[in-house]
Symmetry: C2
Subunit: 256 residues, 2 copies
């Protein structure tokens, strides 16, 4: 068996998320079909996470297990071989053979997500499906509040209710908000994320940007472990998976 | 009769251009339907130009002639009234009543278009339909060559063959190429454009960016008035109508 690690990027708008579901277009399904056509053998695709419907990825890591080792496509030609088959909203950036014990999800040491808010009066049609349209935000207040999220905390308050995860402690390496090209961008990296965590953090920081919550409130919300005290879950459309870290420490020894 | 001037923006990907065509989705058709629903009367829509299938507009000017003057929507509420009906890839930025002799096409003193090239090895799926993917370009050579296009010239060489226009003299106010956020952007403004003019200029400057044509060649091509000596017609996807000028001179007294 041969294991190929793929670094892909996709615009999630047309897909019902990453994971294969019967009769629904998903990124995993398109990638699997493309790999089977290109490699001429059955392929098992494993992803680094299950992105929701409409979520985008600038860099998503997955592996293709070639069950039949007949593949003779040289590593460096795999991206082009897959890209001619894939739809144009999914793109393979690189491919490399990895050891059989590499797992895109369990070997990951952390991930970085981005959430994009558009707070202009003008709902730019070029941003439709790519940002959340909201009222005017004060990004400096948001950034101040975002710092409260950094560090190791029990993040139960930022987990979708109904989720079955028991250990809700995670380490957020960095959580920052800045204005970039007129948009408000939240960037958050952590050793792991709870279900809907970034979208709930985005909804909570939105309240901070509107002057409805302070850094002190945020500290209390985290301590309360109470989902109902945090903000709403923002729509998937503004969410991007930016990077997955596999080094021993985020930013260092990372494969990115 | 009431004449309302609308400044709209649209992502052209889903549309067969601006102009109404039977059984095809066009921007004009969607706008007309939305106006008829919002104003509750029959409406005639006139555009500043006929953008081709897949072409985008950051600012496209059109008028809505309300044939039945029953409309009582205050000017400032028209954009919101139309935007709730319109699909999210068409957006009305502003509306104002204009005199009956205003014509979005014939009153225009000039237009500005933009053409976006992506010359990265990486075919970013987020740019699909929004830029032309090409090989590596030297934007400085392109900009040098672009200057040859400025001024009053007979631009027959940059007109689609088969076009029936006789007077092919136009004044190009500005024609520049620059690298912006890693992309190569051509911006050209003129008192008028021939059919496919910007897309052929883009295809010709592409040859300059590849080192296949010089500023001297460009001068000769213009003088030759020979379409076959210019570059190819670039795809619609990279083309954006940026602005329409109605002042006496571009940039001054402009309504933009």
């Amino acid at each position: 068996m041969k294991k190929i690690k793929l670094d892909i990027s996709y615009l999630g708008s047309a897909y019902c998320g990453w994971q294969v579901q019967p009769n629904k277009p998903t990124v995993q399904k398109f990638l699997q079909n493309s790999c089977e056509k290109a490699f001429g053998s059955s392929v098992e695709i494993t992803g680094c996470s299950r992105t929701d419907s409409g979520v985008h990825a600038k860099s998503f890591i997955c592996t293709a297990d070639l069950l039949d080792s007949a593949n003779n496509i040289p590593e460096e030609k795999i991206p082009a071989a897959l890209n001619v088959i894939l739809p144009p909203d999914i793109y393979v950036k690189s491919a490399e053979e990895v050891s059989p014990d590499f797992h895109p999800r369990y070997s990951a040491k952390g991930k970085e997500y981005e959430y994009i808010f558009c707070d202009r009066a003008y709902k730019d049609p070029f941003l439709y499906g790519r940002a959340a349209f909201v009222g005017v935000l004060d990004e400096k207040s948001m950034d101040l509040c975002a710092k409260q999220i950094e560090g190791e905390h029990d993040f139960a308050c930022f987990m979708a209710s109904g989720s079955k995860i028991i250990d809700t402690v995670r380490t957020v390496y960095s959580c920052r908000v800045e204005r970039r090209d007129g948009l408000v961008v939240l960037t958050v990296s952590a050793n792991g994320f709870l279900y809907n965590m970034v979208r709930i953090i985005a909804g909570t920081l939105l309240e901070c940007g509107r002057g409805k919550m302070t850094a002190f409130d945020l500290k209390e919300i985290i301590a309360s472990k109470d989902r109902s005290r945090a903000g709403r879950t923002m729509p998937a459309q503004g969410l991007y998976l930016n990077r997955v870290f596999y080094g021993d420490f985020m930013g260092e020894e990372s494969e990115e």
